[in-house]
Amino acid sequence: MTYRIVHYINQFFAGIGGEEKAGVGPESRNGALGPGMAFKAVFGNEAEIVGTVICGDGYFAENMDEAGEKILKMIADFKPDAVIAGPAFNAGRYGTACGAVSEAVLKKLGIPVVTGMYPENPGVDMFRKSVYIVETSDSARGIKDAVPAMSKLIMKMLRGEPIGSPADDGYIQRGVRVNRFHDKIGAARAVDMLVKKLKGEEFKTEYPMPVFDRVPPAEPIKDMKNAVIALVTSGGIVPKGNPDHIEASSASKYGTYSIEGVQSADEVAYATAHGGYDPTYANTDPNRVLPIDVLREMEKEGMFSKLYDYFFTTVGNGTSVASSKKFGSEIGERLKKDGVDAVILTST
């Protein structure tokens, strides 16, 4: 079969005009146009550019939501099997548009998409994690290398072939860690690396350290007597039997459980699901991780107004930062909505 491909380009590559025409809105044309002719030549009989969707870079930048929707509909009307966008080389607004269109195609239409950019194009940082961006040169002179590389990648996706490494398949690193077997064991690689480092020779770390985002702590509570306090834990305390099957490590979810009327996280009703620490002491007295008993006493003494009726719990053991961020923002939203003033976060 011949795959149906739609090509997204800007006003310049469509031959409409340069910066003076950047304000033109989305339009749809049948068949290939501009750089699409080069793709057509490479695809041969295997794929066909059934349509080209064009939008001025300025228009897209100023009307992102509306333009994006229109473009997506125009693309969908061609009933394509895949989409290619650009290449945008080092054109910033064009790169951003290609990235945004590609991401929308992936998320809303769920079909393969490839774009191409120069690594310093601002669209790269914005979209490399979600879309495959083939590395191109900084100007349209690089079209002869960009077209075969983008075609090769989109055809691999269409055929359902596994995508190789950035070096093998010519795309810009997406920041995803992938396992592979080396020729040498890790210890030998480490000693090789140390010898090079000591000699002042060039060496390449296998894990470039990331820069962590830091969250500034919230302002302290001014009126403690009237505060509602919630308990949130990554120490894995759950109702006994772990009703939501929160994993012992690498948790994919968190639990929300009512503690209305509960005076103590006793060992009859609660236990830990956490696989990363000695659970003996937490299971003997779950209050050690989820201190309901002490908070109830303080509540009675009037130190604060109320212990929030639910606690949120997950397992921090080996759980990815992405999952933790997701859990954290969801829990935070809920606590804000319910008027909670402060949270006691316990770990293990």
């Binding site: 920041g175 064991i185 890790g186 480092k197 000591l198 350290m209 962590f212 994919s252 659970p279 990815s320």
Partner: protein, 431 residues
Amino acid sequence: MKLELLKVNIKGVKWGGSTEVLKDGTLQVSKEDLLAFVADDDNLKCINADIALPGESIRIVPVKDVIEPRYKIEGGGQVFPGMVNDVESVGEGKTFVLEGVAVVTCGRIVGFQEGIVDMSGKGAEYTPFSKTCNVVLVFEPKDGLEKHDYEKAFRLAGLKAAMYLAKCVYESGGAADKTETYEIAPFAESMKSYAGLPKVAYLYMLQTQGLLHDTYVYGIDAKRILPTILHPNETMDGAVVSGNCVSACDKNSTYVHQNNPVIRSLYERHGKDINFVGVIITNENVTLADKKRSSSFAVKIAGMFGVDGLVISEEGFGNPDADLIMNCRRAEMAGIKTVLITDEYAGRDGASQSLADAATEANAVVTAGNANMTVTIPPQERIIGFTEYVDVIAGGFDGSLKPDGSIEVELQAITGATCELGFNKLGAETW
């Protein structure tokens, strides 16, 4: 200090009337004698034994420890000092080794823990213990046995069995196929040796976070040590043994302590590219004060050695990432160049940051792979142990165990898969 390892190359294991090596290199084991030797009637209801050979369709689960059979035949002390033998310093003389064999301990789950060893299929590619001929001990604890006591009982039984096998073979006249010699001179001499070569030590981090997260050094729970110095040869005689297997991919079984690949790799370059002066052990305790004390103390020792470089290996992940980075930063700030060995928890999709801590000084890192990566390991014809725990062990999740017996798990459930001593060839890169 000089140690010779006399290694017998074992090609198979089978049960028989006596324990000895047969002419074809097969280790014959008297099951009855072995079980009698390791029996622990006070704590264990029963111990059974089984054999699992490379390529056989066998799954061993939940695996607690793996130990190489060794027995000292010359020099002070005996293997696993302070554990199953008197507390006498080891690392000198001659030690008899059954290479290619491992004792694997397996028993009902203690927590959420312990690993999987498949002898064939996809899972076998990731665990180093699919390549050894395994004598598997399967335990049943006595009813009501306290968890720490249970853990201790099977740990000691495994060590006893390993020593017993090597001892029997030696005493029945087994002959070594090769001898390896490891020697480093006393400090006064070694510090002056190899002028012009950089001095290098190994900072060996031991997991010490509590039940199934412990390590023992000459019988002492390493939580309670101050960082100290070991001669590298001591590890070869079992001075350091495992008491942990939670998230089994990156917990060091006794086998990898005995065959520490960092020590072997440093020995290989000793006198050629580096002057390997010794091993500093440190722990990974959970409180900040403990972390600071150990880190500061360990780097101080490295400074007293006057080393130019350190290889630092982590054990475990998450909380110990803080120890790893602290050790690295302190050493680099003291002018000591470091290379770290770790593994990664970058999420199943590999898109998250891999470690719980980071520092710009950590610019030379070797990774043993992303332990969150999932693999589907095919069913095996025979199960040794108890497969019903797969959903709840670390690395497993609801639905991990499929009706056909295949298992979809994260690599972290596979024993030794991302060993941070750098035992394997697995690594990771950014795509």
